[in-house]
Structures are given as C-alpha cells and as structure tokens.
C-alpha cells in the first residue's frame, strides 16, 4: 500500500516543527525499568547492517515489515540507505555509494527504494511495559528499532531524509553520558574534526548538550549528523513516524 506515500511535509511546516536539532517531547522512558525489561529480548538483537561489523552495534526491531522477531536479514536493522544500495545492485565501492547518494539527493528514484514508511508492522518488543509512554505515538510508528552500542560504536556523518520529507525521526538514549550525538557545525574553532567520505571534506561536528536520559526528542535528520559511543550497553530509541503524526508531535513538544 503506497497510496499515502506521496504525502509529504512542506518545508515551512517541517521547519516549524524542527526549531532545534533535538526538540524534547513529552515522552520519557523510565531507564531503570527499560534496562531490566530489554534483557528479555537480548537474543533478538542483531548486528547493525553488513558493514563495520567489528563495531558493537546491534539493533532490535520495534516496527518492521512483518512483525516478526528473528528475521535474517532484518532490513529494519540495517542502515536503510545501505539496504537499498545493496538491493539495487550498485557496485560496492565508495564511488558507487557516492553515485547512489547523488541520485537520492536529486530524487532520482521513484518506487525503487524501501522507505521508512514501508515498515509498519509492530513486533512484540513494542509491547514492552517500559515503552508505554510511547502509547499515543504507536499508531504513527513506522521503521523503528532499539539500538544497543558498545565502546567505539558509531555512525559516520550522514543524513537520513530530504525534501519532500515523508516521515519524522524521534530519538532518545538511556546513556547520554556515554555517547555523543553530533551535528555538522559552522563553528570551525570548536568541535570534533571529522572526515566526510560522501562530501570528501574535512568538517566540524558539535555534540548536543544536556540530553536527558530516557527523554524522547524530535530529531532533525535533514542535517548532517553522526553518533559515537564511548561506553558499554548504550541503548538508543530509534523511531520513525509517518507524517500523519505531524499535529500530534507538534502538540507533544515541550
């Protein structure tokens, strides 16, 4: 069913919602309860994607394509751009990936890509009691996961969406003191020096400050960002919403 896939959020409405890189929402997960309960699902965490598998990056689907836990492979727990890149048969080189990304930026794909909104079946993991604060958002949830990272796990600089935007990203972590979430910055004097393989440029990224453990934030993934963990068992709530959620999210910002 792709009838509503052509809906999108106009740029001015997107900007109205994303007044900062991270906008706190009125959702807070109890970290203690979550950490205890998530152990029941430990066996269903799988390595994130097929690259950089030396890194301790694992995912557990909350919403995937069939509602099952234990799919192998589990596309909900791959970087979706990588999943599409592999499945569209591009040559697996840096140049091939750059070519693929350019085509994305210029909307060179029509119905060929798996999008966040194509994943709409909740798994049993979404019924965890500790995730009840998400209850009013569940009807809008599309491709969503719990991430579990160890020391030096990271996502390289990337962006996840582009105009016309067809979904929204919510994000949170249990351990803000053991990870950085960073956005590309204009301030050359202060930040983390990064090499961006896609832009082939030296860029500066600034870490978000004052992230509250368990708080769920609306995240602006139009912007270049990356993430980096420097401790063990760092869980992240990696949630996508379809655009029918727009008013609900707008009223849920605090």
């Amino acid at each position: 069913m792709r009838e509503w896939h052509m809906q999108y959020i106009p740029e001015e409405k997107f900007d109205k919602l994303h007044q900062a890189n991270l906008v706190p929402l009125d959702i807070k997960i109890n970290v203690y309860d979550f950490k205890k309960e998530i152990q029941e699902f430990d066996q269903y965490f799988t390595q994130w994607g097929d690259k950089f598998t030396e890194q301790p990056r694992y995912g557990l689907p909350l919403v995937n394509k069939n509602g099952f836990l234990g799919n192998d492979p589990e596309p909900a727990c791959w970087p979706l751009d990588r999943w599409n890149f592999v499945n569209l048969g591009y040559e697996d080189t840096d140049e091939g990936f750059t070519e693929f990304y350019k085509k994305i930026q210029y909307n060179g794909f029509s119905d060929e890509l798996d999008l966040e909104i194509d994943f709409d079946m909740p798994t049993d993991a979404l019924s965890m009691k500790s995730l009840e604060p998400l209850a009013s958002y569940k009807e809008y949830m599309v491709r969503s996961c719990i991430l579990k990272w160890g020391t030096r796990a990271h996502f390289k600089p990337h962006f996840d969406t582009w105009h016309p935007v067809r979904w929204l990203r919510l994000w949170g972590t249990t351990d803000p003191d053991k990870m950085y979430l960073r956005f590309r910055s204009e301030d050359d004097t202060d930040g983390f020096c990064m090499w961006n393989e896609t832009t082939q440029a030296h860029e500066i990224y600034a870490a978000e400050q004052n992230i509250e453990a368990g708080r769920i934030y609306l995240m602006n993934t139009l912007k270049w960002h990356d993430a980096f963990a420097f401790g063990e068992d760092v869980h992240q709530f990696f949630i996508a919403l379809n655009i029918d959620s727009y008013d609900h999210v707008l009223h849920g910002t605090i």
């Binding site: 030096r152 390289k156 983390f192 020096c193 030296h202």
Partner: protein, 160 residues
C-alpha cells in the same frame, strides 16, 4: 583525557593573525590530502574533540583537546604512531631520529613550533597513559620532553 598546547608559526615568525581559521588556512598547504583524511578518520574513531583559540600575541593558537577516556587516548595515539610508521612520514621532520616519531611534535604540522604541552589531568596519570600508547603501538615512539610544561616535566622525572 584532557590536555592543551600552543603552536606558533615557524614560517611567518613576524606575522600576526586575527583568527584561527586564517592561521590554519595559511599553514594547510603543507599537509598531504590523504594524510589529513586518514588522521581525521583515526580521530573520529576515538572521539577526539578540540577547541582552538588565538594566543594573545596573535602569532599562533592554543589547542585544547579531550578524549572520552584515558584508555581511548592511548589507543588513539597508538594508531597515530603506527600510521606514522606506515607512511614513513609525519607532519614534522624536526625532532626525528631516523624514522622514530617524537610525541607530541611529530603529530602536529611541521610548520608549527609546539610548546607548553600541558596535561589537564593528574600528570602521573597522563604519563602512564602516554606510555601505555607506546606499549600497545606496534612501532616505536619517544617523548620530546622539551615540548611539555614545567609541571609535566617534573612529573616525568619522578615517574621515569
């Protein structure tokens, strides 16, 4: 891990700069593109943060750096030491004896004079983790003690 150090231009000794951006640009052309790309990739794998500010006399800048843990500093430096040996080059050839790098000078630009390297954690802990880097690196590295501030030098004398 937390430390800072000062760098001044060796090339333009009489010149002053208004901002760090121009200071960096005026010295960037000494750095091979692939070398810079690789050391940035290493930095990004170990959470290296840095903040730049101009020195009061405008002839250089201060770099304040942090890494998330002391062990990650050791691992980061070990990677840098091994990369130095892999390419058999660095950003400076001063202080070199044969192909052995010296910390900290060999890991900054050759056109910069590096002074006042100041650990901002207890000095003894700093030296332990510096030497841990030397141990876990596959290749050799030595210390240029003259680049350090007085307290760090005194701690080094006691520690060694």
């Amino acid at each position: 891990m937390e430390f800072q150090f000062d760098v001044r231009s060796k090339t333009y000794t009489d010149r002053t700069w208004d901002d760090t951006v121009q200071f960096c640009i005026d010295h960037d052309h000494w750095i091979p593109h692939n070398y810079q790309k690789h050391i940035l990739e290493i930095a990004s794998e170990y959470g290296v943060y840095r903040k730049l500010s101009m020195l009061e006399d405008g002839k250089g800048m201060r770099l304040y750096c942090t890494l998330p843990s002391n062990d990650m500093f050791s691992e980061w430096l070990a990677k840098r030491i091994d990369y130095y040996h892999e390419v058999n080059d660095s950003e400076t050839d001063e202080e070199r004896v044969g192909s052995i790098p010296y910390f900290p000078n060999s890991f900054q630009k050759r056109c910069w004079e590096l002074t006042e390297f100041t650990p901002l954690i207890p000095e003894d802990l700093f030296w332990i983790h510096l030497h841990k880097a030397f141990i876990i690196a596959k290749n050799e590295c030595r210390v240029n003690i003259h680049a350090f501030n007085l307290n760090a030098r005194m701690a080094y004398a006691i520690h060694s």
